[in-house]
Amino acid sequence: MRYELPEDYPSGNCVFLSVDIRLLPIIGARLSALLEPRLWVADGYQTGYRAITEVLAQMTALCSSNLIQEIRDFRGVKPEFESTPVDERTSDMYNSLNDSYAKMLELRGIMDDGWFSDTYTTLKDVVQVTRGLDQTNAVGMWDTVKDLIITSSSGASILTNIADLLSDVGETAVEGGLLTALIAIEASNAAIIQQQTLVQASMFTTLDNILRALRGETAPEDNILQAIRGDVEADADRNVVELLI
């Protein structure tokens, strides 16, 4: 009976076999027998030869060493051993998963110092704080902005609100909070301008009423000042008041 590889060869399912390098010359020599045509069925010799020579070619591939180095590269060498030649490094010179985990926690930073364990900042926390739209940050500012826009606050109350916003460290000491504070101040400015507009309109109305009272019901054809002073214009020796007196 002769060898014949199955129809599904190569299956793609491989085994990982570690062989001491001192054993390889012997195993390699024994595998040579499998290159003999007499061991294979006539139609299967080429496939068998290809399969065995592929195994023979892998005998110097050092897959274990390469794999170990890949894992070590992934772990990263500890800073104190960076100057150690790669060939002289041992496993303990590389970061462990615990080291990497601790570094990751360090990068995240502690949000709350707990009695028994610390609470670390999550990405969600960072995003929420940056956006300033979460439920725990800048809520008071958004309420202030809403009041400024909807209600007609007095100038004094607007300034008070701005002062409160800028002095509230808990709300403004985050990036999102500062952004919200800026929006609040802009809203306050808009409210102040609106109030100034209202005051100006009221002054115009008052002046109009005064002028109506001076001119009477019928509007004069000439202007009021000319009616007061008469035909003689004021000069350096007399003025309108003297003329009236």
Partner: protein, 136 residues
């Protein structure tokens, strides 16, 4: 043929009985008819198994060449080994051959630059690796 080793300290009858019991188990599995079985004693019970005489071991240099038709296909060529070809440092020290050695280069170049091919008439492209084998 099947061969096994017993623990020391039992009688011949014990060993033969154990073999007979095993024969009953093995015969249906193999479909063979057991025609003979025996128990053989070494000179001493604690004697280790001894290697039998064989041909002498001959170190050879094995070269694997890639083929031109398909990636990851190879052809094997073995030659007598010059010990100076063997790597002396690195992870393959004592096993791998120095492909940069001038004599090795001459040899591999003559193979790839010549009229050599694999057993199926596929041209050889380049040397892929080389190492020591201990043939008997």
């Amino acid at each position: 043929m099947m061969r096994g080793t017993f623990k020391a300290g039992f009688s011949t009858e014990d060993y033969l009985e154990a073999v007979a019991l095993l024969v009953e188990k093995v015969a249906p599995l193999s479909g063979c008819t057991i025609v003979r079985y025996a128990v053989v004693y070494r000179l001493r019970e604690t004697d280790p198994a001894t290697a039998r005489s064989t041909l002498s071991i001959t170190p050879l240099a094995r070269f694997l060449f890639t083929l031109t038709d398909t990636p990851d296909t190879f052809a094997e060529v073995s030659t007598p080994l010059d010990p100076s070809w063997v790597l002396t440092d690195g992870p393959l020290a004592g096993f791998g051959l120095d492909l940069a050695n001038s004599e090795v280069l001459d040899f591999t170049d003559s193979i790839t630059g010549g009229i050599w091919c694999d057993p199926f008439a596929i041209d050889l492209a380049a040397v892929d690796t080389a190492y020591v084998v201990e043939a008997s």
